[in-house]
């Protein structure tokens, strides 16, 4: 089959690899009909995620048709149309029982390695480094799905792929980030980053009852999508100072909750960007927490900072005094996707949201390397690419 493989920084290659096989009784093989490039895939592309190995098949947002099931999978049959969540979860462990699926204790075969890095190991993820299991991902014609009796959700109505594909990651990720803000009537939510996760965080904040959402980015097309599709007020940080503007917009109090939908490769103008770039280059910190610092300082007293952006290792100069003295709550985590599949599919069915609005580019799997390059450089107003195998 064809698969998009990582071969180093800025080096993706679509190549012929062996077809996947059932390796365990609870596995399924899915023939992929649509697969997307995630903003977090750009961290792999830029070489910021440790323990990637040449030849790793990437991709963790995919859906398709069940081709084969192992003897332990009773809820799926050949021909079922499914969306596959990006965390791999057993459904049997302490964390899965509490619906904290991205913390599954049994799905990371390299748990020992993750323990050396982070103290304890989270769940294994598709196509996202050997620290997180070294699983082959879904930017391919076929994928092996472990614990297929727990993860995939059947799609039984006439939705297009693009309407349901993002249940695999970015819609639940934006939703969980908004849910973590514990939104009450009258709340103002600020969202850093208007990429696809930011867009879903904005829409989810409104779905959950926010009165105002303020979106922060620098790309006009992303800010336009935030205001036109998602009804947010917008701030272009290249034109105005974010902190005083947020203070003005909220009568000096600050947003009730702040969502960081940017993560480890944040950008900003000025000195703090140069500082973090330099420290990152010297390997003195692994991530650039520029959006996170701003979100913390901007948040109102007693508010919540919800982090959906991906961080990998160590960050520097985090204003913890601001967090402690002002009673802030920090909420974060890889998305417990399985928890949100049913309720969010219901919202799509009820017409409360049509996730296909984020798609700006449709390309073939063969064009994956060009698609990464375009997405990274935000060429052609690229916000979200869907690849067709």
């Amino acid at each position: 089959m064809k698969a998009n493989c990582w071969h180093g920084k800025h080096k993706m290659q679509v190549e012929d690899v062996p077809d996947p096989k059932i390796l365990n009784s609870r596995d399924a093989i899915v023939k992929i009909t649509s697969t997307a490039i995630c903003g977090s895939d750009l961290h792999l592309y830029n070489g910021f995620v440790p323990t990637m190995e040449s030849g790793d098949i990437v991709g963790h947002e995919f859906m398709g048709e069940v081709m084969e099931v192992g003897p332990g999978v009773n809820n799926l049959k050949v021909g079922d149309r499914v969306v596959v969540p990006f965390p791999i979860s057993c459904g049997n462990c302490f964390f899965c029982h509490q619906q904290m699926y991205s913390l599954c204790e049994n799905s990371n075969p390299n748990a020992w390695l993750a323990e050396q890095f982070w103290g304890h190991s989270p769940a294994g993820l598709f196509g996202y480094s050997h620290l997180l299991g070294g699983f082959a991902g879904g930017q391919a014609e076929y994928a092996r799905v472990p614990f297929a009796d727990v993860g995939p959700i059947k799609i039984e109505n006439g939705f297009t792929d693009e309407q349901v594909l993002f249940l695999s990651d970015i819609f639940p990720t934006g939703y969980m980030a908004a849910e973590a803000c514990d939104i009450k009537e009258g709340d103002t939510i600020a969202v850093w980053g208007c990429g696809p996760v930011g867009q879903f965080a904005i829409q989810s904040a409104f779905l959950l009852g926010a009165s105002r959402v303020i979106a922060i980015d620098r790309f006009p097309e992303r800010l336009r999508m935030a205001s036109q599709n998602s009804r947010a007020e917008t701030i272009n940080y290249e034109h105005v100072d974010v902190l005083p503007t947020l203070r003005e917009l909220t009568g000096g109090r600050g947003p009730d909750a702040c969502i960081d939908a940017v993560g480890m490769e944040a950008h900003t103008d000025g000195l703090s960007y140069a500082y973090d770039r330099a420290k990152q280059a010297m390997m003195l910190e692994s991530d650039r927490p520029i959006a996170l610092r701003e979100a913390i300082v901007a948040c109102r007293n007693g508010g919540t900072v919800s982090v959906a952006g991906v961080y990998g290792g160590l960050i520097d100069k985090v204003p913890f005094g601001s967090i402690m003295n002002r009673s802030l709550t920090i909420k974060t985590g890889q998305t417990h996707v399985q928890r949100y599949l049913k309720p969010l599919l219901e919202r799509i069915e009820k017409g409360e949201i049509d996730p296909s609005f984020v798609v700006t580019h449709r390309m073939s799997l063969n064009e994956a390397p060009q698609a990464y390059d375009m997405f990274l450089n935000k060429q052609n107003d690229c916000i979200k690419v869907v690849l067709k195998p």
Binding site: M1, A3, C5, H7, G8, K9, K11, Q13, E15, V17, P18, D19, P20, K21, L23, N24, S25, R26, G47, P50, T51, E53, S54, G55, D56, I57, G72, I88, C90, G91, N92, C93, F94, H97, E105, N106, S107, N108, P109, N110, A111, W112, L113, G124, H130, G133, G134, F135, A136, A140, Y142, R144, P146, F147, M283
Partner: protein, 322 residues
């Protein structure tokens, strides 16, 4: 079996005997020691080069796009060099260098799979590393036989793992010894030879030494504790126990394993060391995790045999981690 402090005892005995002559233990300036010092300085030099100009090293070895990794390897080299030159546990640091060499070779191996000039450079680099590796192994084994006495192998290890099942379920899975090879990667087969005795065969690398032992149950307390020890005539002596303690609040079972191993004779000690690795505690923890997976999910999660854009479904990193 009281081997808990075996290694420490022998180290202190050795120190006493060698100090009796007024000679500190590391002061033997023969061939191996001189080579060790040379390797120590070589390590520091290479490490500094990797740390300061990873781009140059990357060009020389064809691994251009791995500057971060090369810097990390540089730190590793310097640590090993300083360790070797410190004169304490020289052999251990040298074995560390051997492990580092293996990492280098694995990394170069992955570059060799690319095409053209990069592959040629990586091949040359791998030949050079292999030469140094041979020296490291010779030197380390020379010094190990002195430092620790490789005709004896002793280890004690403990680990625990919380399992989301009742003590009764955990006990019955473990007590079914014949099924352990299904999920314990270091056991090839288990066969009952009597009411309370079993014959065990260890799973070692292909072509490696074969390790077998007979063990008898010394305690079988249903749902609470199992203990065993090897019978005379086994390749090595082992005693172990596993306890099943109900976790508070009905949160399953804390499974605690405790094992002591000992082997006498150069060949058998080497075989035991191969089977259990340098860090038996980590090995036991990894086995307990596999036990947990089997009990909780009915299978052991794996990527062995999956698709990949390279020859092997798993990489050197996966093999270290599992």
């Amino acid at each position: 079996m009281g081997t808990m402090s075996g290694i420490e005892d022998r180290i202190s005995n050795y120190a006493e005997t060698s100090n009796r002559g007024g000679e500190p233990i590391f002061r033997f300036e023969d061939g191996a020691a001189r080579v060790a010092r040379g390797l120590g300085w070589f390590s520091i030099g290479l490490g500094l080069a990797e740390l300061i100009s990873p781009a140059l090293i990357g060009r020389i070895t064809g691994a251009r796009n791995h500057r971060g990794l090369i810097r990390a390897y540089g730190v590793r080299e310097i640590a090993a060099g300083v360790g070797i030159l410190s004169g304490k546990q020289t052999a251990t640091w040298l074995w560390g260098r051997v492990a580092g060499d293996a990492m280098d070779l694995a990394s170069l191996g992955s570059v060799m799979q690319s095409s053209g000039e990069r592959s040629r450079k990586a091949t040359l680099g791998a030949v050079a590393v292999a030469g140094v590796t041979a020296l490291d192994i010779w030197c380390a084994s020379q010094l190990s036989s002195r430092d620790l006495g490789s005709s004896e192998y002793n280890s004690h290890a403990e680990a625990s793992m919380i399992v989301n099942r009742s003590p009764a379920e955990c006990y019955s899975t473990w007590r079914n010894f014949e099924s352990l090879p299904r999920f314990m990667s270091y056991i090839q087969s288990v066969r009952a030879t009597g009411d309370r005795t079993w014959h065990w065969v260890g799973r070692t690398a292909e072509g490696g030494p074969r390790v077998e032992w007979d063990a008898e149950l010394t305690e079988d307390n249903p749902n609470q504790r199992i203990a065993w020890r090897t019978l005379p005539g086994s390749d090595f002596r082992q005693s172990g126990s596993v306890e099943f303690e109900a976790a508070p609040g009905g949160r399953g079972t804390i499974v605690r394993a405790s094992m002591d191993y000992a082997a006498t004779g150069v060949a058998l000690a080497a075989a035991a060391a191969t089977l259990l690795g340098k860090h038996p505690e980590q090995m036991i923890r990894k086995q307990l995790r596999r036990f947990k997976q089997a009990v909780e999910t009915g299978e052991v999660i794996t990527t062995e045999g999956q698709s990949a854009g390279r020859r092997n479904s798993v990489t050197w990193l996966d093999r270290i981690a599992r």
